[in-house]
Amino acid sequence: MKYTLLIFFCLLILQSCKSTQVKEYEKQHINDREMKLSAKTAERHETNFQVYREGASGANGGKTGGGCGCN
C-alpha cells in the first residue's frame, strides 16, 4: 500500500510538471538561497550523528556508505 501510494505520488507530480513552464526570469523566488532542494552544508555534522544514533540512513543527499558509525 505504501509503495502504491508512493508510485501514485510520483506519477502525479510527473504528470503535473508536464504543463509547468516557469520561465528563468520568473524564478527569483525559486532561486532563493533557502529554497535549495538539498540539505544545507551546515547540517552535515547533524546528519552524521543521526546516522550513528538511528538505524536508518540514506535518501538525504549525504553519504550512502563508508565509516563504521560505531561510537
Binding site: 507530480i13 508536464k18 525559486i30 540514506g58 556508505g65
Partner: protein, 499 residues
C-alpha cells in the same frame, strides 16, 4: 524485492519520457558555473548521554563528546568544471570505546568522577584485596581491576580521531543542462578505514524546471577488529586464559559473589572477515511546480556486505551463568547506576547477518510563502531486510529578518521499529543465530528541535587575504530519544569567496 524492482522500473520509465523531450532552452551566452573559488569552514561540537551502552550489552553510560571540523575548498577550473576538496576530522571521547576495556587496574579510581585508571595493563593479585566487601578497596594504591558499565574508563581506547579526505570533480555541458561528476574519498580512524568512489549524472530539461539524476557509489571499508578485553584474552589463550596475561590471578565471581573459575565464553570466536563493502544507487527527480513551489523525490538502493556487526558490542545471554570482575558487593546493583565497581564478563559480541539491503525513499518540498518566510519540509521512509522500518519528517521555517540576516526554527521527528535481531540487556538466548543489544537499533521515537541563524554578506564586511566573507550559518539542536538518550549539537559554518 519484486516491489522494489517495480518502483525502480516505474520511476525510470516515467522520467525517461520527460528526458527525451526536446529542450527549448537556448544558449544565449556561457556563464561560468562558479565565478570564483570558495572556501568553507564547518565546525561542530556534539555531546550526548544515555544509559543503554551497546558496549556494555545494553546498559551503562553512553557519554560521548565530539568535535568535528571540515574545510571545503571549491575551485572553478574553467567555465565548465569544478573541483571540490573536502578535508575534515572528528575527534571524540566515548564511554563506549573506553569500556571495551572497562577495568581500572592501577587502583587509583575513587568515587568522585575524576578517574585516572588505565584500561590497559596487567592486573596483579586481587584475591587479598577483595576478601572484604567494605569501602577499603577504594583508594588503595595497589593495582585492582574493577570497572562498571556506569563509569567511563579512561584508557587509551576512550578517544580517537576520524580523518576524512574527499575530492569531487564535476563538469557542466555548454547549455548547463547536463552535469556529470566523479568522486573519491578516504577516511581513517584507529580501528576502521574506508575508501570510496562514485559518479553521477544529472539532466535538466523542461526549461530547467525538471531535473533527473542518477548516482552510483561504492565504499570498500576494512575493520581492524577490537574485541572486549575478556573475549580477546579468551581468543588469545583459549581455555586456560584465566591463568594468563590480563586475567592472571584476577578473581572472577559468580552471581552469588563466590570465587569461580567457570567463566568460559565459548560462544565467542573472532570474525574471519573484517571487510565491509557498501554499494549504492541513488535516483532523484526534482520539479519546479510553480514560481514559489518546488519538490524533489529521491531514493537510494543500498547493499552492504561483510562485517556489519560492531566487534566490541557485548551481548549477555539470559540462559547463561553470570560472572564478574571487581567488587562483589555491587553485583546485586549491577544494572543500576549505583554500581560503581563491578563489571560483568561478556558471553559474546553482537552477531548480525553479513549482508543488508536498505531502501530509503525521500522527498523535499519547499515553498516560498512570501518575502519574509520560506517553508522547508522533508520526509523519508526507510526499510531494510533486517526488519528495521522508520519514518523521518522535518520542517524548517526560515524567517528573513533583513536582506542579510535569516533566523530559522526547525523541528525533526523520527520513529523506528526495532531490528529483528534486537533484544535488551540479557534477553537474548544462546540458541539464537543473530543478536544485538545496541539501542540505536531498538524501537524508539526521537525529537530534534532547535534554531539557526544565518548571515549572508551582500558586500563582504571583512577579508582574509583575498577571500571575502560570503555567509555565516550558526545552528543549535537538542536531540531527545524516547530511551532517555539526550544530545546537543552546535554547528557553525563560514564561507569565504575569492575576490
Amino acid at each position: 524485492m519484486y516491489t522494489i524492482r517495480k518502483i525502480i522500473f516505474v520511476f525510470l520509465l516515467s522520467i525517461s519520457g520527460f528526458a527525451q523531450e526536446n529542450d527549448s532552452t537556448e544558449v544565449v551566452y556561457k556563464r561560468r558555473v562558479l565565478e570564483a573559488s570558495e572556501i568553507e569552514f564547518i565546525s561542530s561540537y556534539y555531546k550526548q548521554d544515555g544509559n543503554h551502552s551497546a558496549v556494555s550489552g545494553g546498559i551503562g553510560t553512553e557519554k560521548l563528546t565530539d568535535v568535528a571540523s571540515n574545510i571545503v575548498l571549491t575551485i572553478p577550473l574553467n567555465a565548465d568544471d569544478i573541483l571540490t576538496i573536502d578535508a575534515g576530522f572528528s575527534a571524540y571521547t566515548s564511554a563506549s570505546s573506553s569500556n571495551i576495556n572497562p577495568f581500572f587496574t592501577d587502583g587509583s579510581y575513587v568515587d568522585n568522577g575524576n578517574n585516572t585508571g588505565a584500561s590497559r595493563g596487567y592486573a596483579k593479585s586481587t584475591k587479598d584485596l577483595n576478601r572484604d566487601s567494605d569501602d577499603d578497596d577504594y583508594g588503595t594504591t595497589q593495582p585492582l581491576p574493577y570497572g562498571s558499565p556506569w563509569i567511563e574508563s579512561t584508557g587509551a581506547s576512550r578517544k580517537d580521531v576520524l580523518t576524512t579526505l574527499s575530492a569531487n570533480y564535476s563538469h557542466s555541458s555548454d547549455d548547463r543542462n547536463l552535469i556529470w561528476n566523479a568522486n573519491l574519498s578516504v577516511s581513517r580512524e584507529y580501528d576502521y578505514q574506508s575508501f570510496g568512489f562514485g559518479g553521477g549524472i544529472a539532466k535538466l530539461f523542461n526549461e530547467k524546471n525538471s531535473e533527473i539524476s542518477i548516482k552510483a557509489s561504492a565504499y570498500l571499508d576494512k575493520w581492524k577488529a577490537i574485541y572486549p578485553t575478556e573475549l580477546h584474552e579468551y581468543a588469545k589463550y583459549g581455555f586456560n586464559f584465566q591463568n594468563n596475561s590480563y586475567f592472571e590471578n584476577v578473581t572472577v565471581y559468580d552471581q552469588y559473589g563466590l570465587e569461580s573459575s567457570n567463566y568460559l565464553p565459548f560462544y565467542f570466536s573472532e570474525f574471519d572477515n573484517e571487510k565491509r563493502n557498501s554499494y549504492s544507487l541513488s535516483l532523484g527527480f526534482s520539479q519546479v511546480l510553480t514560481k514559489e513551489l518546488q519538490v524533489s523525490i529521491f531514493m537510494d538502493v543500498l547493499y552492504q556486505e561483510g562485517l556489519l556487526s560492531t566487534p566490541y558490542h557485548r551481548v549477555y545471554f539470559a540462559d547463561k551463568a553470570n560472572y564478574y570482575i571487581g567488587q562483589k558487593r555491587y553485583i546485586p546493583l549491577y544494572d543500576t547506576p549505583q554500581n560503581k565497581g563491578v563489571y560483568r564478563l561478556a558471553d559474546d559480541v553482537e552477531r548480525l547477518p553479513d549482508n543488508r539491503f536498505k531502501l530509503p525513499l525521500g522527498a523535499r518540498l519547499n515553498y516560498y510563502i512570501n518575502d519574509l518566510m520560506v517553508l522547508r519540509t522533508y520526509y523519508r521512509f526507510y526499510s531494510d531486510d533486517w526488519g528495521l522500518v522508520s519514518h523521518t519528517a522535518s520542517i524548517e521555517l526560515p524567517i528573513k529578518i533583513s536582506n542579510s540576516f535569516t533566523a530559522y526554527p526547525m523541528y525533526r521527528f523520527y520513529t523506528q521499529k526495532a531490528l529483528d535481531y534486537f533484544a535488551p540487556f540479557e534477553q537474548h538466548y544462546s540458541s539464537e543465530k543473530y543478536y544485538t543489544s545496541d539501542y540505536d537499533l531498538s524501537s524508539f521515537d526521537s525529537h530534534q528541535y532547535g534554531a539557526g541563524f544565518s548571515y549572508s554578506a551582500v558586500f563582504s564586511p571583512f577579508k582574509i587575504f583575498k577571500f571575502g566573507l560570503k555567509n555565516i550559518d550558526f545552528r543549535y539542536n537538542h536531540y531527545s530519544r524516547s530511551d532517555q538518550l539526550e544530545a546537543d549539537i552546535f554547528t557553525i559554518a563560514i564561507k569565504f569567496v575569492n575576490q
